[in-house]
Amino acid sequence: MALACVATAVLCFPTAGDEQPAAIHSARIGEPISPIPAALDLDGRKVRLGDRLFHDPRLSRGSLVACASCHRLEAGGDDDRAIAIGTDRRPLDFNAPTIFNVALSFRFNWRGNFRDLEEQNAAAILDHRLMNNDWASLLATLQADTDYREDFAAIYGGDVDRGQVLDTLATYQRSLVTPNARFDRYLRGEPAAITAEEEHGYQLFKAYGCVACHQGVNIGGNLFQRFGIFANPFPEDGTGTEADLGRFTITGDDADRHVFRVPSLRNVALTAPYFHDGSTQSLDEAVAIMARNQLGRTLAQHEIDRIVTFLRTLTGEFRGQPLADTARSEDR
């Protein structure tokens, strides 16, 4: 009967069918968080080519930066800065979000202003303060490079075009998932994967309502929420930045004032500093701020510690290796 249901579900949801077993698994054990599915169905050639593009500064005008300049895979997929720096050497508006597990989010960036990766990548390549490039010169550069030309031709045939570049980049970025976090293994039925203390932290995470927003496979990243429900985290005197307005700057809807995409908590231990403005370097503090503003609670330090221990179990593996912020390992 269950199989029949699954079969029916697959038939009825041809677009979402491949993720359905995970959902059933998650529902079965009744947890609001589900593990990252292990299997990825991606074209390896595109992934490899996208890898090279991702790390190639020639994607930017004057070969100043590569994608990987801000999304450093060895640094948790972000740049470790509070606010990202543009190619003009001046700070941008937001903290750079991690590139890891980006495919598991329903929108991108803090304001959720991009629905798909191709769109986001194109914007990044053309943005004057980011890569500041244009398609004509970028494609000419790639076409001039024998390796690129041949590799693109091998995959797509013909000359390199915009769609091919965006497709390879996005495909590569979709490959940047970090499965097998200890907590995922716990969810998959490996109780020993996390300690009792960490499990206690998870219980607190659920009990105190963090999980109300940070749920799903990406532990967040699948809804918008206003920052500041029970308390106002923004300056009362109106000195807040435009970035503080969140989605309002996109939609112009008052209801979207201070509304942000709920960020994913996967690998959260590696992606400091936190919040849209990178205002907090410490995870403890971030948890405290969130509890106060969003949950109307003031947490005791031991509770914060528990929750943070739990959060550390969310760090996954990348290409089979446990993810680590090597750039900051010295600090720790």
């Binding site: 009825c12 009744g30 009990a207 749920q215 799903g216 699948n222 429900i229």
Partner: protein, 843 residues
């Protein structure tokens, strides 16, 4: 290659039409159709899933929003799939569908916005509900002071949660206010804050849920689906129609293919038939080439039969006509073996063909009547119907612009169709027959001419021989007759010697008749020519014949032309009539009618006759026809040769017809004989007609003129004849001076030229010929008339005669009548007769 250029547009058009049908008959975009149906299904299913998950999330049963995100994404994806449809249908004129797709996508967008708001609000609500439940329990235990207030609040909240009316919300708010007043503890504050959040958020969340459940996505998706399926159905129906058309086109093409195949086969068959026909004609042609003359007629008959059998006709005929195209000269007929012989009347076919007036039935200069029954009424149809002809093909044969005849094919039992190609082949066959006929005619003519030449040469040879014999006999007879006449003069009439001499003279005269005939045959006679009325000649001859022939022979004369005149010798012409009639009477054993005809014939062309050839011109034709034994061709070959006779020995001289031939030839005429054994004979003698010669006929022969003592120098090497001549001259009233030597005569003449009034000399003399003598005398006395006597009518040249001053030629044996007339003609007339003279000889 021109046909290709002509055909190319048709082929291109056909290909275009077929391609069009194929394209239009294709089911419209099966793949896209499936995708759209998938999208529509996905819309409905994701919508249901969304509704379910929203309700589960509202009730806290769904702990994460991934399913909602997936459903929303699914809806969005389906929406954008449908956008293609919307764009396309908007472009191709289905504004309803485009509009409904647009409104569907609007609904999807609105729904997504609701989902986002629902997720955010519901996250807060669920959190607060969970906290509220958890906290109220803890507060009851931890702070007994506030327990009643918390309890009231919890129950109010419970009521509110179950029924979030405004009244219940006010109650909860009041309880919250009360609790906040009771305690200002941190926990209480948080508890109150969450409670207020619930009051604020729960109705909004429920509203969102209601909004989501009432979302028009589902109904609009159904509208889109209905419109789309309707449109797709229409397209499918249209495609089916075009498929039917394609099928029909395929059927038509297949039928056309079958038709082409059949036509190809028919063409091949007709080509084979044509090839057979051509081979047959080629064979016939080859056969004719190799055929000897005498077998051409058989060959023609055979070829006609083969041709007719091949053409599957019932009757065939090959007619040869005269050059005027009026008369059938020769008919080759063929009739299918199992059929009755046709009624005669092929002549009529020739007439019909040469007077054909119906241009609609002319094909390639032939006459082709596929169906006699549909012909317009007229002489042609009548003639064809008379022969029971159903279909008729007539190929006229021509040669050098003159009609030669016709080649005709008739069907009697059914109608027959011939194509133009067939007719062309029949024409070719006609050419071959025309060639064969022409060859036969030419070879016959050559043969006839060769025969004529042979005959002419034979007659010439015989003539020369007979002429020589006759000349000698003539001289002998001259002496016999002359002396017998003189002896008679000296003898007492009715005395015994007188009677003997009379018999001698009679026999001599008969012999002279024979000799005359021989001379006439050998054309050595040279008689005076005058205009002769043929009618008179015939009448005179018939009168004589009626007297001499037995009464059992009836002579019927039919003379169409009264004034037909011929330049010639009346006596000789009379002899022709008499000889022919005598011959006819003999051929009938002196019993039966002889038809003597006289008419004028005008020939436009040279015409060959059985014995001789006539040049174009006007001729008087004398016809003598009998109903006697007739002659076979071999006999006809020799009839005009002297001494050739079919009569029993002793009854004929064999000179009668030879004489006729000689006389006719002498008059520049020709003879035509038509005869068949047992069917009588018909002799036709043609004489050149004289124009306006009747006046000369007035000149009538007068009585015998006599001289008036004129001196005539008579030269004759034969002494007895010289003496006879002197006797004659003297008897005619002339003064004869005779010499038997030309030289003596000439010296006598030179001695006294004025003494003589006329010179009468024999031509053939040992020392000086008559002509030489005449020449010498003429030189001395040009005005003196000279008459030459010759026993041989050989080729004396007129110019030489004229040069020698010779006025006239007389033939031996010299007769008193001839001599009297000649002398009287050439001597100047005298005022009064000096001496009466009478001939003493019997005439």
């Amino acid at each position: 290659m021109r046909w290709l250029a002509k055909l190319l547009p048709a082929i291109v058009l056909l290909l275009l039409a077929l391609t069009y049908l194929a394209v239009r008959s294709a089911v419209p975009h099966t793949e896209r159709h499936e995708r759209i149906l998938d999208a529509l299904r996905s819309l409905t299913l994701n919508e249901s899933a969304l509704h379910r998950d929203v309700l589960r999330a509202r009730d806290g049963l769904l702990r994460d929003y991934d399913p909602l995100v997936r459903s929303a994404d699914g809806l969005r994806l389906a929406g954008s799939t449908l956008r293609e449809l919307g764009d396309e249908t908007g472009a191709d004129g289905s504004p309803d569908l485009a509009r409904s797709v647009r409104s569907l996508r609007t609904a999807v967008d609105e729904q997504e916005a609701l989902v986002e708001r629902f997720k955010s609000s519901n996250a807060l609500l669920q959190n607060s509900l969970s906290y509220f439940g958890h906290a109220s329990h803890q507060l009851n235990r931890a702070e007994p002071g506030v327990a009643p207030a918390v309890g009231i609040l919890a129950s109010d909240m419970l009521r509110f949660i179950h029924n979030p009316r405004r009244g219940n919300a006010a109650a909860v708010t009041a309880s919250l206010d009360r609790l906040a007043r009771v305690s200002a503890g941190r926990d209480i504050a948080a508890f109150v804050a969450h409670g207020r959040l619930i009051v604020a958020t729960l109705p909004a969340v429920d509203e969102l849920v209601a909004g989501l459940l009432a979302s028009p996505v589902g109904s609009r998706a159904r509208v889109v689906q209905d419109l789309y399926l309707e449109r797709h159905g229409a397209a499918l129906a249209r495609a089916n129609q075009f498929r039917l058309l394609l099928y029909a086109a395929a059927l038509v093409l297949a039928a056309y293919l079958v038709y082409l195949f059949l036509r190809l086969r028919a063409n091949a068959q007709s080509l084979r038939a044509r090839l057979r026909f051509e081979n047959l004609i080629a064979e016939i042609s080859t056969q004719f080439i190799n055929l000897p003359r005498e077998r051409i007629t058989d060959g023609i008959q055979q070829a006609l039969a083969r041709l007719a059998e091949h053409a599957a006709v019932d009757r065939a005929c090959l007619l040869r006509c005269d050059p005027e195209g009026r008369r059938v000269e020769r008919a080759h007929l063929w009739t299918r073996e199992d059929m009755a012989r046709p009624p005669s009347g092929v002549d009529q076919l020739l007439t019909v063909a040469s007077h054909w007036t119906l241009g609609a039935y002319r094909r390639q200069r032939c006459i082709y009547v596929p169906s006699v029954t549909t012909m317009p009424a007229g002489a042609e149809r009548a003639a064809l119907t008379e022969r029971d002809i159903r279909s008729w093909l007539c190929v006229p044969l021509w040669r050098a612009g003159r009609p030669l005849g016709l080649l005709g094919f008739e069907t009697v039992r059914g109608e027959q169709r011939w194509t133009d190609d067939d007719i062309a082949l029949f024409r070719t066959a006609g050419e071959i027959f025309a060639n064969a006929l022409e060859r036969k005619r030419a070879e016959d003519e050559t043969e006839a001419l060769a025969g004529q030449l042979r005959r002419a040469q034979r007659l010439e040879a015989i003539g020369t021989l007979a002429g020589g014999i006759a000349h000698n006999f003539n001289n002998i007879l001259g002496a016999v007759l002359g002396y017998s006449e003189m002896a008679l003069g000296k003898l007492a009439a009715d005395s015994r010697p007188w009677r003997y001499v009379t018999e001698v003279r009679q026999a001599g005269l008969r012999a002279k008749g024979v000799v005359d005939q021989m001379l006439a045959f050998s054309r050595r006679a040279d008689r005076a020519r005058a205009a002769v009325a043929m009618r008179d000649v015939v009448d005179e001859a018939v009168r004589l014949l009626r007297a001499s022939l037995p009464a059992t022979v009836a002579i019927r004369v039919s003379a169409e032309t009264a004034g037909a005149a011929v330049r010639g010798d009346a006596t000789q012409l009379q002899q022709v009539v008499m000889n022919l009639c005598t011959n006819a009477a003999d051929a009938m054993d002196q019993r039966g009618p002889i038809d003597v005809g006289l008419d004028m014939v005008e020939l436009a062309h040279e015409q060959p006759l059985s014995h001789g050839t006539l040049a174009a011109g006007r001729y008087v034709r004398l016809t003598v026809a009998d109903t006697g034994h007739g002659m076979d061709p071999a006999t006809q070959e020799h009839i005009f040769e002297p001494f050739f006779t079919t009569k029993p020995p002793g009854t004929g001289t064999g000179l009668g017809l030879a004489t006729v031939h000689g006389i006719v030839a002498d008059h520049g005429g020709a003879l035509n004989v038509r005869s068949r054994p047992g069917a009588g004979s018909r002799f036709e003698a043609y004489f050149a007609a004289m124009e306006a010669g009747i006046a000369e006929l007035e000149q009538a022969a007068s009585s015998l003129p006599v001289g008036h003592g004129e001196t005539v120098l008579l030269v004759e090497d034969d002494k007895p004849l010289m003496l006879l001549g002197e006797e004659m001259l003297a008897a005619l009233g002339y003064e004869p001076v005779g010499f038997d030597s030309g030289r003596q005569a000439l010296s006598a003449f030179r001695a006294d030229p004025e003494r003589f009034d006329l010179l009468l000399t024999d031509e053939i003399m040992p020392e000086v010929s008559g002509t030489d003598l005449a020449t010498a005398a003429h030189r001395i006395r040009p005005e003196m008339p000279i008459i030459l006597v010759t026993g041989h009518g050989g080729p004396v040249r007129a110019d030489r005669l004229r040069a020698a001053g010779i006025r006239e030629l007389l033939r031996k044996p010299l007769l008193s009548a001839d001599l009297a007339r000649a002398l009287a003609q050439h001597l100047p007339p005298q005022a009064e007769p000096q001496r009466a003279a009478r001939t003493r000889g019997g005439r």
